[in-house]
């Protein structure tokens, strides 16, 4: 029983990592209606920018907003330079673009900061949280920030004009244009925000997994899985999906003898497929009905 509780707790803290990433995935999906394969590398790159600022002696609480602003601007710049020209190209061209971006960011980070792992500081410390050695204060802080982000996003998409305009631009670009929404800039804004959320995710994840150019490789797969499980249209679903995947994966690894460890990820993915067969919109997502 103790092992069970411990694994659930460990799963929740790993789940927080997935949840953070899943939020960024949902954000970009809301804006462009695609999954961005370079999302993880963008987050990694932002984290390296934060690392560099810290190396230059800028205090943590200055670095944090600075990194967010740089990442936000960077996201918009990437959209303007790379994806706006591809605006009307088929989906496959976009996918190729994402993969190219992935490779470029990964290699440039490796070339600039080399491939060894770097320690990244945490603002929360690493002491046991509330006496539990299984969740550190950093991981608790991470869960907290994930929920704050979640609430902010919820408010943004539900109650602000820009948020509503963004949703409209992603869901029905033609109609959005007709009511006077600047769809092109809404997409750019979505990229900027996704990049900013990615930066927060990266900064929170790096103290746990250590900063290096391939830091997000595994995380992104789980981030996608969480987002899909929770529903790509729902930030809340993405966060819940993250925690569910984290916990489920640990329990599979612990309690299914023999194959559990090696098939941890496949089993988690099989669960996701099962959910999607039963509920195509994800656990918390809305199903869109397309009119013909």
């Amino acid at each position: 029983m103790e092992l069970f509780i411990n694994q659930v707790l460990a799963g929740i803290s790993t789940g927080a990592i997935y949840a953070c990433m899943a939020l960024a995935v949902v954000m970009i999906y809301q804006a462009i209606d695609h999954l961005n394969f370079a999302q993880g590398e963008m987050a990694m790159f932002s984290t390296f920018i934060a690392y560099q600022l810290l190396q230059w002696g800028i205090p943590y609480w200055w670095t944090f907003p600075l990194t967010l602003i740089i990442s936000f601007a960077g996201g918009i710049a990437i959209e303007r330079a790379l994806f706006k020209p591809l605006g009307n190209a088929p989906v496959l061209v976009h996918v190729a673009g994402f993969i190219a971006l992935f490779a470029i960011l990964n290699s440039v980070a490796g070339l600039t900061w080399d491939w060894t792992i770097k320690q990244f500081p945490t603002p929360f410390g690493n002491a046991p949280f509330l006496g539990s050695q299984l969740i550190s204060t950093h991981q608790a802080g991470m869960i907290g920030i994930t929920f704050i982000l979640l609430i902010l996003l919820f408010v943004f998409f539900r109650f602000t004009r820009v948020g509503l305009a963004m949703r409209a631009a992603a869901a029905l670009p033609e109609s959005a244009k007709l009511v006077g929404i600047n769809v092109s800039w809404m997409i750019a804004l979505g990229w900027g925000m996704a990049s900013g959320i990615g930066a927060i995710a990266g900064i929170l994840i790096a103290p746990v997994v250590f900063l290096e150019p391939n830091m997000m490789g595994g995380v992104l797969v789980y981030g996608f899985a969480s987002a899909v499980l929770g529903g790509l249209t729902s930030p809340f679903g993405a966060v819940m999906g993250g925690f569910l995947v984290g916990v489920f994966e640990n329990l599979v690894g612990t309690y299914i003898p023999g194959v559990g460890n090696e098939l941890k990820l496949p089993i988690a993915l099989a669960l996701i497929i099962t959910v999607l067969v039963l509920r195509p919109g994800g656990l918390f997502g809305r199903t869109f009905v397309q009119r013909v």
Binding site: L3, G11, T14, W115, Q119, E212, V219, V221
Partner: protein, 410 residues
């Protein structure tokens, strides 16, 4: 037709024999195979400059810099080295393509230090069929020491099984009644070391192991495995991990307040790129083993070998990160290669390259720990088979005990 070709062969071989006999003395001075001339020796190399293992690409860059140094200082026996290094992206089929290119189009004398167990496995048959040396491969798998079946392939670093045996020996004397939890990377590297450890523990030791837990490199964190290992009540934890996961395991074990006898494999024992990021306070008393000097270890600050190493980096590749264990690895392997080429003298045939590589006797390198010696023979293709145990104290590794040999069968 049959008899005709037979006669022709006979005629040709007679001519060859006559030529060899008459010209024998004159060319005994200088003998060349493809890839070597009076002025140049062409060396091929394959590295993962891109792809998932690109962190190791720096090894190729260091080797290139080292050969630049050799050339700047006049070359080897008057010949300049031409180092041709290709990228295989850590992909075996690409490695085969690059090996073919090196052998058939660039016409190198031999291929030196190609990296990775999968890539070397993929090119081994080809290299041996072509009788082109595949020298000092950059992988710790045990299978490279097989002169009978693969006389053209040779390893360099201590193999993972030897390392596992050394830890087993240590555990048997230190904690004969301990309970061991092992976390290992689920690939050739992890399984090889695990096998060495289990072989070393023997029948009695098998009962000491309470958990063999594997992880995949694609996992973002290995926290869950550590939690599971602690729950077994083990008092010995063996972490068979690559640097990132090594650092994670050190940090997590400390975080959850577990205090086992912690054994960390050599791959993850770098001070600069593992112990420091993981936090020195978390790494106290960890046991590991090494054969090379760690340039980031303060105890070598005044060591002549490390001073030479730093001077070399400064002059030939100042952008290299000396805290990266791969940098020292590239330096040591390139130095070994230069020694073998020097010993080969003017007899630069592929056959003689293998002969010289298999004729290392108590060779010491300035980048290796004192007492670690390279030894090879016609039946022993494993140059380094010794390691010394060490314990992490403060901010450095303290070596202890004798230099140990984990020779298989020994």
């Amino acid at each position: 037709m049959f008899s005709f070709s037979k006669t022709r062969i006979a005629a040709i071989s007679t001519a060859v024999i006559t030529f060899a006999m008459t010209g024998g003395n004159a060319i005994a001075q200088k003998k060349y195979d493809t890839g070597a001339t009076d002025t140049e020796i062409k060396i091929g190399n394959i590295m993962p400059y891109s792809g998932p293992a690109s962190a190791y690409g720096v090894i190729g860059k260091i080797q290139e810099a080292y050969f630049n140094k050799v050339n700047a200082e006049g070359g080897i026996n008057g010949r300049k080295i031409k180092f041709i290094s290709y990228d295989d992206g850590y992909s075996p089929p690409k490695a085969v393509e690059q090996a073919r290119k090196l052998v058939e189009s660039d016409e190198v004398l031999f291929v030196f230090n190609p990296l990775g167990t999968p890539s070397n496995s993929a090119i081994q048959k080809y290299m041996n069929a072509k009788k082109v040396p595949q020298l000092f491969v950059a992988t710790g798998a045990t299978k490279w020491n097989d002169p009978k079946d693969f006389p053209w392939t040779m390893g360099w670093q201590p193999n993972y099984q030897s390392e596992g045996r050394i830890y087993a020996k240590y555990l048997m004397t230190e904690k004969p009644n301990g309970k061991i939890a092992i976390l290992y990377q689920n690939d050739d590297f992890g399984k090889d070391l695990l096998k060495g450890l289990k072989d070393g523990l023997g029948a009695k030791g098998a009962s000491m192991i309470v958990l063999e837990e594997s992880y995949e490199v694609s996992e973002p964190t290995i926290d869950s495995h550590i939690v599971k290992a602690k729950a077994t009540g083990a008092d010995i934890f063996v972490s068979v991990t690559t640097p990132k996961f090594g650092a994670q395991s050190i940090k997590k074990v400390a975080e959850i307040g577990w205090k086992p006898l912690f054994i960390l494999n050599n791959v993850a024992a770098s001070i600069g790129s593992v112990m420091k990021p993981a936090g020195f306070e978390n790494g106290q008393d960890i046991i590991s083993a090494n054969y090379a000097k760690d340039p980031t270890d303060p105890q070598w600050a005044n060591d002549q070998g490390i001073k030479n190493f730093d001077a070399f980096l400064q002059k030939y590749i100042p952008e290299a990160n000396r805290t990266d264990g791969s940098v020292m690895f590239g330096y040591n392997t390139a130095q070994t290669m230069a020694l073998v080429l020097k010993a080969a003298g003017d007899n630069l045939t592929r056959d003689n390259m293998m002969k010289q590589a298999a004729n290392l006797k108590d060779v010491q390198l300035e980048g290796l720990l004192p007492g670690i010696k390279l030894n090879t023979s016609a039946t022993d293709f494993a140059p380094i088979e010794q390691l010394q145990l060490m314990k992490f104290k403060g901010d450095k590794w303290e070596l202890f005990g004798d230099v140990l040999s984990g020779e298989l069968g020994g």
